[in-house]
């Protein structure tokens, strides 16, 4: 920086570099200053119009009465009004038709499926997993193995009234026999039910009353399935899937399902009749049906 100022009259600040580069003290252009003042005015207008200034108990409300939440609610109502208008026909059909009829109408079924994804996420996925993938000890909804039946009407009934399976406890048989039955059932699910090694289990299965509900071949009769949700034991799909297969099976046989003892399997599907509208339950029935295993 040069010590003396060769341009004393031009109003420079005295900061001079490289002989002739100097800092001037020119005022900003008028348009720039006007924009600046406009900015200040807008700040004041904004502060009066919108909630802006914090106070010990909250903040100023602003004359517009605007809040983000109110705007969100208004927008949400707008969206709902749009949907109600745009899809009035479909919604009316959902109300009037039965789940089976909805399923037959391809477009309506797709509509029902698309509009119930959020419902499934809110009310079903906690136990049954997103996409109906199931969870340990909670049934898979995407397969074709149904405890109470898998047509749209039955699924709807399940949702409306809930389900509570029932299997008596067989602790009185003793651990050895229960183990033999379990071995037999595992062999059955793998297609080896005729093996000599499991013949003891087979006769126990037949003689202890298991076949009464689950059927002689492990496939339950329709009435037993619809009435108490007797599981299909022959297809290798496990109702209670957590942990070791045989251990799990022994526990189920020993303590039963939904019985009055401490170790019993607690397996209850809650009723949704009061919690969701009938229309939404139909929607969900279609959604579950279309997850992959509907009958």
């Amino acid at each position: 920086m040069a010590g003396h100022n060769p341009w004393p009259d031009e109003g420079n600040t005295g900061h001079i570099w490289d002989e002739d580069i100097r800092e001037l003290d020119n005022p900003p252009p008028l348009w720039w200053m006007l924009a600046q003042y406009m900015g200040f005015i807008m700040i004041i207008v904004y502060a009066i119009y919108y909630p802006t200034i914090p106070t010990p108990t909250g903040h100023t409300q602003g004359v517009a009465g605007w809040t983000a939440y109110r705007e969100y609610k208004e927008d949400f109502e707008t969206l709902n009004a749009y949907r109600a208008r745009e899809f009035a026909e479909q919604e009316k059909m959902l109300e009037e038709l039965s789940p089976a009829e909805i399923l037959k109408n391809q477009d309506l079924a797709v509509y029902a499926e698309k509009t119930s994804k959020a419902l499934f996420g809110d009310y079903c996925a906690a136990c049954h997993g997103t996409g109906g993938a199931g969870n340990p000890d909670f049934p898979v909804l995407a397969d074709d193995d149904w405890l109470f039946g898998g047509n749209a009407q039955t699924i709807y009934k399940t949702l409306v009234q809930g389900r509570k399976g029932n299997m008596p406890a067989y602790a009185h048989l003793g651990d050895e026999k229960i183990g033999q039955i379990a071995d037999y059932l595992i062999a059955m699910s793998e297609g080896r039910e005729g093996d000599a090694s499991v013949s003891a289990g087979k006769s126990l299965f037949m003689g202890s009353g298991c076949a009464g509900c689950h059927g002689a071949t492990g496939k339950p009769m329709a009435a037993m399935r619809d009435f108490m949700g007797a599981a299909n034991l022959s297809d290798g799909i496990r109702r209670f899937s957590a942990g070791d297969y045989k251990e799990s099976m022994i526990r189920t046989i020993k303590y039963g399902v939904n019985q009055a003892n401490e170790n019993t399997r607690y397996a209850v599907m809650p009723a949704f009749a009061g919690r969701l509208s009938d229309k939404d339950l139909k929607r969900l029935s279609v959604y579950v049906h279309r997850l992959g295993g509907g009958e």
Binding site: D9, A133, V140, A142, D143, D144, G236, G293
Partner: protein
């Protein structure tokens, strides 16, 4: 301040080597004289290229508008071909191609785009042509500008601005007509049912055209357009541009009529007679004799002007001519194809062109996307099969309805369920659906098995897609 500076004997910009060429900064209006000549004619031919803009929307193809950017339907129709957003990568190649075309033409011959083809130049040219027809020659226009408003001036002004506004409107309208069917658009305008966007675009594009071509004119080229400022990096010593032959022209001076002048004096005199015609015809108001400069849009009109004068003087043409700095330095120019810039630019252009060509040839009439459902990855069925779910999207890029049959192969006993018969895909549309694929567990080779999902149009079996996907099964 400059006075102050010179008083204090500080350096001026000229002294530190910065060339200041006088450029019209908008204080005075440029009223360029129009004279005929080779470049004048060439300009008209080049400008007529833009007639396409106005007639383009009326071209039909199979009863539809031939070129239509159908934004609501997310597609671009060009002569029966539908380009969907999936193929938009070609657009980047097309843009690359034209950007380099600009670069290579600039490297060879300077701002040919600016001088002959740019819409700013062309529209300004047409606007000033109208101005001259209505208001007369430049000196008359200058007088008209200066005189106070009267009936005659008002008449001329109203007529001129109406003509300008009409062209501006047609420009804006034709532009919008590439996005909305042109006949539909006329109908909407006449019945006042066009959407707010259409009116807003008409207004904005129309006003901008009017301002840019009618009012701003050369100011756009000098101060607004970035191309003027980057051309310094795009031209080199070998680029030919309209250039004044200093050696031949200087010292310039008025033509000496007296024959008493000695031979010596006559030879001292350069060929330039300082008639200023080259300045008078310049649409950007520069003096070409001051050398190559960014205000020059290389339109060649000064060449026409100077040639006409040289013809009258019976002197050879070309005092101002297309020439490069290397020419004047006496350097022999390498042929165009041997210049590095040309080679590099052309190589990239060829690559882009090949890409575009490939894109158009390989653009399948049908495409399919298959997404494997991840939750659950698979389910086991009571039949002993494993089931996978796929979201399948079939895209129809033709203008006819497609009846598509889906099938799957790759595992013994594999089958697809959940799809009822044929899928009807509307033209230029996507059809999405969920399908279940089942395969016997015993036939699976491992955790994941490659499968092929096939789609083909039953009406035209040549239109088919094979999609490689995976079938997921249990680990054991």
């Amino acid at each position: 301040m400059s006075d102050n500076a010179s008083n204090n004997s500080s350096k001026t910009l000229e002294e530190i080597g910065i060339e200041i060429l006088p450029v019209n900064t908008g204080q005075g209006k440029v009223h360029a004289k129009r004279i005929g000549g080779f470049f004048r004619n060439f300009k008209w031919w080049a400008a007529s290229f833009w007639i396409i803009l106005f007639v383009g929307p009326y071209m039909r193809w199979n009863g539809e508008q031939a070129i239509l950017w159908d934004i609501p339907n997310r597609q671009f129709n060009i002569f029966g071909l539908t380009i969907l957003p999936q193929d938009i990568w070609m657009l980047s190649l097309i843009l690359l191609f034209f950007a380099l075309l600009l670069a290579v033409s600039t490297a060879i011959a300077g701002r040919v785009w600016c001088g002959y083809f740019c819409f700013q130049t062309v529209w300004t040219d047409v606007f000033t042509w109208i101005e001259e027809k209505i208001e007369g020659q430049p000196h008359k226009r200058q007088k008209l500008d200066e005189q106070p408003m009267n009936m005659e001036k008002l008449q001329k002004r109203v007529l001129k601005h109406s003509a300008w506004l009409f062209i501006s409107f047609m420009t804006a309208f034709s532009f919008i007509a590439y996005f909305v069917d042109v006949f539909e658009l006329w109908g909407q305008l006449f019945t006042l049912t066009a959407s707010g966007y259409v009116w807003a675009e008409l207004l904005v594009i129309g006003i901008l055209t009017y301002l840019a071509a009618g009012i701003m004119r050369e100011q756009i080229c000098l101060w607004v357009c970035p191309y003027a400022r980057i051309q310094g990096a795009m031209v080199d010593q070998e680029t030919i541009m309209p250039t004044y032959d200093k050696d031949r022209g200087e010292p310039r001076g008025r033509l000496k009529r007296s024959k008493k002048d000695t031979e010596d004096e006559a030879t001292k005199q350069g060929d330039c007679i300082d008639c200023n015609l080259c300045v008078a015809v310049c649409p950007t108001g520069i003096d070409i004799r001051q050398g190559q400069q960014y205000g020059c849009i290389t339109c060649g009109l000064c060449i026409d002007a100077c040639d006409s004068v040289m013809d009258k003087l019976k002197k050879p043409r070309g005092l101002v001519r297309y020439a490069s700095i290397a020419d004047f330095a006496g350097v022999e120019l390498p042929p165009i194809y041997k210049r590095p810039r040309v080679i590099v630019y052309s190589t990239i252009m060829a690559a882009a062109f090949a890409g575009i060509l490939y894109g158009f040839i390989a653009m399948a009439p049908m495409t399919m996307n298959v997404l494997h459902e991840r939750n659950p990855l698979f389910v086991q069925l009571s039949t002993g099969e494993v089931q996978n779910k796929y979201t399948i999207k079939v895209v129809n890029k033709t203008d006819k309805v497609m009846n598509v049959e889906l099938s799957v192969e790759g595992i013994e006993g594999i089958r697809m369920t959940g799809v009822d018969g044929l899928i009807e895909v509307q033209p230029g549309n996507v059809h999405g659906l969920s399908a279940f694929v089942k395969a016997p567990k015993r036939n699976l080779s491992g955790e994941s098995t490659p499968i092929k999902i096939k789609a083909y149009n039953v009406d035209n079996p040549e239109q088919k897609v094979i999609y490689d996907s995976m079938f997921i099964g249990p680990r054991y």
